[in-house]
Point group: C2
């Protein structure tokens, strides 16, 4: 019963993820997406797109990974992918958050969750590479549907987008081919500044 | 590539789940929860609480089930658990929605998703019983933290709550014991009207 009470406390704590807003907006919308919605969408993408992973993956593990990957932001906040004023190397701060929040769980489970989060961050296993592909693909779908979305809002150019998105390739060549097409189409439509744009 | 384009269309379509609002509010909040956030929270609960299921369960299947269980509401809308003016037997309407929305996917996958949704609705397998327990438990945690929440807002009494929540027992005796305690505590605190309340 002690274990259950700790688990329930954790389940209550993570409700806070619904208040952490990202910069990216919902599809065809100007309403920012929150981290809980984002995590649900990635888990659905894992379920639907699993067949496109470069290597054989344990789908249950990918789903768990994307469900928990942003929980640390309850303490450390969301860092916008193209924010040049902030350090993206806030691993220590996020690890501290992981230890506090996952640490609410019973000991064995806490360890499992922290390790799963570290595995996602390190991007070395087939599962974490594929999870990262999905995490990079979702905002691309959103920006392409929102007339450029955060690309135009924050003046992000083609090169920066390619640099950020190429991690998709490590998890899925097929999704990367799709993503490259979508980026090229966005340049053609004039919603993303091309390298040739003055 | 055709398959992938259908899958991406589905992933775009289900973004609409983020606009379907439930009656229940977030924990310690008066902001209604949307179906995407709710589905994320249930998938997390499945991950954390799997050890409390009455029977051995396939966790991946439970997670998939709760991730997709409300997608039909994009077409059919949310029906409040204690709404006495609306029929809760809108299975035909929801099946039509399941066929349209999951039908966007490639054929084999569409069939898998529709069958998974039907399995959840029928509540006959260990996975669907446990998924239902989680679906009943989450709003209980919310109402208990919100000074009675929708119980007080819609004048829902103890008997109705027990009637609705007892499905938790079919999936998990342990979670049911916890839920019963929480309901009793809510009566003691005066945030839920007891059978003896005039």
């Amino acid at each position: 019963m002690d274990h259950l009470l700790n688990q329930i406390e954790f389940i209550r704590e993570i409700d806070k993820l619904k208040y952490i807003f990202r910069k990216t907006k919902l599809i065809n919308s100007d309403r920012p997406e929150n981290d809980a919605e984002h995590s649900w969408h990635l888990a659905m993408m894992a379920f639907v797109l699993a067949g496109h992973a470069n290597e054989p993956i344990d789908l249950e593990k990918v789903m768990k990974m994307v469900l928990i990957h942003d929980i640390v932001e309850i303490d450390s906040g969301d860092v916008f992918a193209y924010d040049t004023t902030k350090s993206h190397d806030n691993f220590d701060e996020e690890l501290k958050a992981a230890r506090r929040i996952f640490g609410i769980l019973p000991e064995e489970q806490a360890e499992e969750f922290i390790n799963l989060w570290i595995e996602f961050e390190e991007m070395k296993t087939p599962e974490s590479k594929f999870a990262r592909s999905l995490d990079r693909l979702e905002p691309l779908l959103q920006n392409a549907s929102n007339n450029g979305g955060t690309w135009r809002e924050f003046d992000v150019k083609y090169d920066k987008v390619i640099e950020k998105k190429k991690a998709i390739k490590d998890g899925s060549e097929e999704l990367w081919k799709f993503a490259e097409n979508l980026i090229d189409e966005s340049v053609e439509k004039g919603i993303l500044s091309s390298p040739l744009t003055p």
